[in-house]
Symmetry: C2
Subunit: 139 residues, 2 copies
């Protein structure tokens, strides 16, 4: 299975927007285990990480983030750019288990990424590799 | 049932923090229906709203927000201040159904509030009142 983007609505009101995230009946939702937030500083890259069980649903809350999703079996890489700062780039990225991910903070300030994860955090469920291990696929 | 705060951890790393949100086994989690984000502009107040079914789990992602939770049956009001900008004020606010809520954007910039809601958005499940209807309990 591949990663995929779902554009999300932002509904303006005079006191501030309502921004969609994910509903239980949305494409890509496979269960709820944990919601947590990852900050990424400008021009820094976190990765590579691969989950054995967890489906990630990633929403950029602040700033702009580029993501690389790498399938080690097929050696295919997909890249995605998501931003909270530009309405046309406000999307949810669904990443099924079994794929490597790295992500980079773009722009001048820190960025925040919400993960609505299908499983709670468990270090035994994830593998890590060095940032340069799949260097040509970095975001 | 009353609303309650749960302090949340923030784990620093050289590339940016990991901030806790909510896990399936946490106090206050009663099911997942939808995750959405409410923006509130500085010095604006949204409210009052009361949910018939939804338990809200509220996490401030950016800025500082004050919340008033009003129980119309007992005429008791609880107030809470949550901030993403001060680590000691980074908490999750659990609001069970049946309570009125209003919230106000503090500080000079817009604030963002994540709701991990037990039920998906449904206008038939919520009631609204004018901001001044419980004016003395406003945040």
């Amino acid at each position: 299975m591949m990663a995929f983007l779902t554009p999300l609505k932002r509904i303006p009101t005079p006191k501030g927007e309502v921004r969609h995230g994910i509903r239980v009946d949305d494409a890509g939702f496979v269960g709820f285990g944990e919601a947590y937030i990852s900050e990424i500083f400008s021009e820094e890259t976190k990765g590579w990480k691969r989950h054995r069980l967890m489906t990630m649903n990633l929403i950029v809350l602040k700033g702009t983030v580029s993501f690389s999703i790498y399938n080690e079996n097929t050696q295919e890489c997909e890249k995605f750019l998501i931003s909270a700062e530009k309405e046309q780039l406000y999307s949810r990225l669904t990443v099924p288990p079994g794929l490597w991910m790295a992500f980079r903070g773009e722009g001048n300030e820190n960025s925040l990424v919400l993960n609505i994860a299908s499983h709670p955090h468990d270090p035994n469920e994830a593998e890590n590799r060095g940032i340069d291990d799949f260097g040509k696929f970095l975001p």
